[in-house]
């Protein structure tokens, strides 16, 4: 058991700078955030992931949907070095007659150098710049599968990158809507109090008692079938954000109620400030840091939710490509044992979710620079 000395000093004594009161709240928040190494690390990794998603075709040597029957379930290609030049061996595909699975044997008599900035299939970068440049590639007939290939011989690396475009972004608007809605309803409820507060709270309780899975299933089946899978999923996240704002509304309400009794609010009211002015200049800036944190922490759960829903068959389905869809291929024990590289998308899920949490945690600590 720790002694009294082992209990660390309260945070304020460690971080309080002498110029508190002279710098803006934002500067204080940034300083405090930068102190937390894990959060900065999480933020940098996330920026990296979003950049990779944006330039996905540049990083993938092959299109994400290109089938290749000569390379079904091909394992990740081993890379050797000749001097400083990376090379790969050619492979030949043979059918194992006893198990009826494809067996790949490396044939290192002929080496294929890995080339950088090669010309390959064409794509448009950021939707506007036409290009056919790729970071790396090998001369055909050899194929470089950095992350292996799936059951159809599609490049797992290209699919993971393509999936990240959807998985990392599709929940964002839904989260944004529920955050805005939650803040508005929470502020109204906390500021007005009385009958309005009571009504909103009962309504929130009603929404909170509603299981979301049936709602999800009903919407998934009720939305027009001619819609693309991704678009349908996107609409569902938006509709569901009309239900999931309740938690934040409660927290904001609590905060606003606390601010209402504080002296500076009273002073503002006595000075003749309108309720809107009090809310927007005196209350929301105080609550905004908390709101940002809730939003940051809601995003990773939307990413995780996508994998769970896709697993259950309620989320996205092929031909859409998302991390959840890719992990549908890795649901059986045999897959994990025989083609473990199909689990690579899971690593991306875990990294993204963990980094978002690091980021949110750092923001939470930084959110209240006076504590």
């Amino acid at each position: 058991m720790a002694t009294a000395k082992a209990i660390p000093l309260p945070e304020r004594q460690r971080t309080a700078a002498t110029d508190v009161g002279q710098v803006s709240q934002f500067t204080l928040m940034r300083r405090r955030f930068m102190e937390s190494k894990l959060s900065v690390f999480g933020g940098i990794v996330l920026i990296g992931m979003y950049v990779m998603a944006a330039v996905a075709p540049f990083l993938s040597p092959y299109p994400y949907d290109a089938l290749d029957s000569n390379n079904q379930f091909a394992a990740p290609t081993p890379i050797y070095f000749v001097g400083i030049h990376p090379v790969i061996c050619g492979t030949t595909q043979t059918l194992d007659k006893s198990t009826f699975t494809w067996v790949y044997t490396a044939d290192c008599s002929k080496l294929y150098p890995v080339r950088f900035f090669v010309h390959g299939y064409s794509y448009t970068l950021f939707g506007v710049i036409p290009s056919d440049l790729h970071l790396f590639g090998v001369d055909p007939p050899a194929k470089l599968y950095l992350f292996g290939a799936d059951s159809q011989g599609r490049d797992v690396l290209a699919r993971v990158l393509e999936g990240s475009r959807i998985s990392l972004t599709i929940g964002l608007l839904g989260v944004a809507i529920s955050v805005v809605l939650g803040s508005i309803m929470g502020t109204i409820s906390g500021y007005l109090g009385g009958a309005a507060d009571n009504l909103i709270q009962r309504f929130i309780e009603l929404l909170m008692s509603m299981p979301t899975l049936p709602l999800w299933a009903a919407l998934a089946a009720a939305l027009p079938q001619d819609m693309s899978v991704v678009r349908r999923y996107f609409y569902i996240t938006i509709i569901l954000s009309l239900v999931t704002w309740t938690g934040l509304a409660r927290q904001v309400r609590g905060k606003v109620m606390a601010y209402r009794t504080l002296d500076y609010t009273l002073a503002a009211r006595l000075a003749g400030a309108s309720p809107l002015r009090i809310i927007f200049t005196h209350m929301l800036p105080n609550a905004i840091s908390h709101i940002i944190v809730v939003a940051t922490l809601a995003v990773p759960f939307s990413i995780l939710g996508e994998t769970a829903l896709s697993f259950l068959g309620l989320g996205m389905l092929p031909p859409a490509v998302s991390w959840g869809v890719l992990l549908r291929d890795a649901q059986q024990v045999q897959v994990v044992e025989q083609h473990p590289w199909l689990l690579i998308p899971a690593a991306f899920v875990i990294i993204a979710v963990t980094c978002y949490q690091f980021l949110g945690d750092g923001l939470r600590d930084a959110a209240d620079p006076y504590s």
């Binding site: 720790a2 509603m210 299981p211 309620l314 024990v333 044992e337």
Partner: protein, 327 residues
């Protein structure tokens, strides 16, 4: 106190009433009647069904009545304990759920206990040893623990159990015990199968509770009454466990309310991966196959568990902390 509970119970009845209406409409929102699947199934089994047979089926289940009539009929039945018929399983909803709910409660109950037993001591240790190496390790494990998808954890544990421990996994019993009557051997066999799903179900909430426990205890440890307790000369153990921890348990009590419905819905994915005879897979199949009476029964059951759980959590909170006033 009695007044408070009565008022809450009244709210609960109103809430459930509204949810049952919304849920009833929702379950029937998807196009295609619940019976069409059944008819297709019958066709696949035994050739053609005549129009008359279809009509008689529809009449038997009352599918041609307007929705409000069906709603009233279902609610009247439900109050008397009859929750209607499942189309996909061709059995009363009642018997379907009752035959599986025991294992669900067992699994999730064990998972909740596991999560509490593990997370409280670790959270306390992590908070009292802040910024030490073990604290950092615990913190990172927590973050990753929340981030690992359930089914992945279940798969990895399955592979681990079969490759490393060489145990027979999947299901709740070994084949020779499935249909055997209860015995000591069967019980031990159950325990051997139980730990994987329990660990998987508990993993996420354990990680989360540990983090909450740590954060709360850190807040509480900075308060003056803790300093007072220390300066009175109490041992650090007493200060932490009797004075601080007790007040740091609030959010955990609150979370308990949310965990009651998780008894049913928390084990869905794990049960599918591990092939367990619990209510979770039934719930999903009802939603996917538009099996409306089974679906609506689950929906109502989950909402009731949630509101009851919240009430219990509030009462527990008032009992743990005398400062909390129930108004």
């Amino acid at each position: 106190m009695v007044h408070y509970i009565l008022r809450r119970l009244l709210y609960m009845v109103v809430t459930i009433f509204f949810i049952s209406i919304v849920g009833f409409v929702l379950i029937q929102l998807p196009p295609g009647s619940a019976l069409s699947a059944k008819i297709a199934q019958l066709r696949a089994l035994g050739g053609d069904l005549s129009q008359d047979q279809i009509r008689s089926l529809e009449e038997r289940y009352g599918l041609n009545d307007p929705i409000q009539v069906r709603y009233v009929r279902w609610v009247t039945g439900a109050i008397h304990g009859d929750f209607g018929q499942s189309f996909t399983f061709d059995a009363p909803v009642n018997s379907l759920i009752w035959s599986r709910i025991g294992f669900s409660v067992l699994l999730s109950g064990c998972a909740i206990i596991f999560a509490w037993v593990v997370s409280i001591p670790i959270g306390v240790y992590s908070a009292t040893h802040r910024y030490t190496i073990p604290d950092y390790i615990v913190t990172i494990i927590q973050f990753v623990g929340v981030a690992v998808p359930d089914f992945l954890l279940a798969l990895l544990l399955l592979v681990f159990a079969s490759q490393v421990l060489h145990t027979d996994v999947g299901g709740l019993f070994s084949t020779r015990y499935v249909n055997a009557p209860w015995s000591w051997g069967k019980f031990l066999d159950l325990l051997q199968h139980l730990w994987i799903p329990v660990v998987v179900i508990a993993a996420g909430s354990t990680a989360w509770l540990t983090r909450v426990m740590r954060a709360n205890l850190l807040d509480v440890l900075n308060q003056q009454y803790v300093q007072t307790a220390r300066s009175k000369g109490l041992t650090e153990g007493v200060v932490v466990w009797k004075h601080a921890v007790r007040n740091a348990l609030h959010p955990l009590c609150m979370a308990l309310g949310q965990q009651l419905p998780a008894l049913i819905s928390g084990e869905v994915i794990v049960s599918i991966v591990l092939n367990l005879p619990t209510t979770g897979p039934l719930y999903i199949s009802a939603l996917l196959n538009k099996d409306m009476y089974l679906g609506i029964t689950f929906l109502i059951m989950l909402s009731i568990l949630l509101v009851v759980g919240n009430l219990l959590a509030d009462l527990l909170l008032a009992w743990v902390d005398p400062r909390v006033r129930l108004e």
